[in-house]
Symmetry: C2
Subunit: 334 residues, 2 copies
């Protein structure tokens, strides 16, 4: 690692995972929990998704130190109904549960046709493309969504109620990386707004409203007010569905309950995740999807969801990453 002129620290990509893992262990994680979270952070940085990379470490560490999150979690998997895999996250971060559940959930989908992974008692602070991609690598299509803390107003309202509530979907491919999208129900991901606030940038129009309910371009005002859903009331419908699927349906907190019960230590609140795995109809399904992908790519200016992110890997691998000195020190402190 190397200190640069503008109070940032450069890390080689290979340094990210051990750096994160060591800090997580100092904050109370055992080896497997630290490894699962550090792998997620490494993958985020590797794919240029910096808002879900080391930038999230202070939150991860704070919730371990406050005792809210169990750094020695041992997720428990049971089959509550024939097509439902119930995963109790044991109060830990979600990535270890994702690793544990990927194969059994994919196998259940293959035997039942469809299977629901109902993840409760967990803390989700990462990007959802990672878990749906894990499932697609097992040969199934996957849909996942999770809530957080209120950030978006319901359609017609002005006060935050729904989380930014990301939805991710992955489709398996035989001779290529899975097709994967992962998108917040907000116009902009909360992590991006937080980065804009940290770096003093203004936001584009339409991203959010201030505490007074009026449009603003100031990220700090938006973080105090409300972010806006994409596509107006239609994005709000998606966010509402996510609250019901990842909360009411599976028996976990919704965003407004999560916020009310959180200790505000800077990390994520406790919540649930709805993960659906679907078995394609063999080779015919995969071949059919490839036909659609060809039709997408024949148009100029297009690419498949997920490929833009992957195109960043080579550059990040060559150049390494750069984080603020203050962030480096927070992660590196005892």
């Amino acid at each position: 690692m190397e200190k640069t002129a503008t109070d940032t620290v450069k890390l080689a990509l290979e340094e990210v995972k051990p750096f994160a893992s060591a800090a997580l262990k100092r904050a109370g994680c055992d080896e497997v929990n630290a490894d699962a979270v550090a792998e997620c952070i490494f993958q985020a940085e590797r794919h240029g998704a910096h808002s879900h990379g080391l930038f999230r470490m202070p939150g991860y560490l704070a919730s371990l130190k406050s005792g809210k999150v169990n750094g020695k979690a041992s997720p428990k998997i049971t089959t509550s109904k024939p097509a439902v895999l119930s995963v109790d996250g044991d109060g830990g971060y979600a990535p270890l549960a994702h690793q544990y559940m990927a194969k059994p959930l994919a196998d259940l989908a293959k035997s039942q046709g469809v299977a629901l992974g109902s993840l409760t008692n967990t803390f989700h602070f990462a990007a959802l493309w990672q878990e749906v991609e894990l499932l697609a690598r097992q040969g199934v299509a996957a849909f996942a969504c999770t809530s957080f803390k209120p950030a978006l107003p319901p359609a017609g309202g002005t006060k935050p109620l729904y989380g930014t509530n990301p939805v991710a979907f992955a489709w398996p491919r035989e001779n290529a990386e899975p097709m994967v999208f992962d998108q917040a129900s907000a116009v902009m991901a909360r992590g991006e707004v937080m980065i804009a606030a940290r770096e003093g940038h203004t936001l584009p129009d339409g991203v959010g409203i201030g505490p007074d309910g009026k449009p603003t371009n100031d990220p700090n005002e938006v973080l105090k007010g409300a972010m806006l859903p994409y596509g107006g009331y239609k994005g709000a419908s998606i966010a509402l569905m996510v609250e019901l699927l990842a909360g009411a349906l599976i028996g976990e907190q919704m965003s407004y309950e999560a916020a009310a019960n959180d200790n505000n230590d800077g990390g994520p609140p406790r919540g649930g995740e709805f993960i659906l795995a679907l078995a394609p109809n063999g080779n015919a399904s995969l071949k059919s999807a490839e036909g659609l992908f060809s039709q997408i790519l024949v148009q100029e200016g297009t690419r498949l969801p997920g490929d833009g992110r992957r195109m960043k890997c080579a550059k990040v691998s060559e150049n390494g990453i750069e984080i603020p000195q203050s962030l480096f020190e927070t992660i590196n402190s005892k």
Copy 2:
């Protein structure tokens, strides 16, 4: 029925279903198929959703008369995998299949936890809120989506590839009508653009592009060019997911294939529908959802999805509906 000064015909609401049913039977439907489609048209008109009401009848009739659609369809239900109900629509319109599958699909979801209704070999020309609402009345949450013919470009492109690809979701409530949303992946439903074209109205900004790939407010140009997804690339992701779920996954045509194989008689192309039913976790789930609904309604200016539509029923019931004379005659002709 009464002819008005501006070349329209007024119908009492009670006249809608028999009027539609008689026309469907003249065009070749048997009693049960005619009744199922006519009930859908009646429900659409009753809820003020005129773009899915009698306005669709010429399309329904044309596809019966051309022989593309089987007016005497007898949908066949099999359980291909333990949590999958495979419904072969027998080349008929979808509403009868929806009636047949609602209870067995809900029952399967209750026993398995989750169940997929895979509807193939069918022709879908109605609004999806009707089938998800049927399921919610059986006590399950439901998600449905279907493709059509290319209308939306993929993200980054300018040529139609995805259908307007609606997504609908319903949640059951104990002492109230189900919470239901049903939204096209396009900014505006195709039916609305067709009505604007018919009535000579211009479209708001952002609804579509012309055949030259440039924004336009002319509905006729948009019908020749492309409609735009809501929320930019995020709505395009939803539309892409719908193609894969209602096409590649269940073994049916996607929009671009449906268009290539259609006889362009004015009715819908053959396609599939992905219908997911999810069993809530008993009363706890329902109570939890009511908590969220209260939080929505406490904000000024809000209402639950589906309630806006229902609020129109009383007025439509009192005033009846008015359709163009030419539409009346098309439906009324031999």
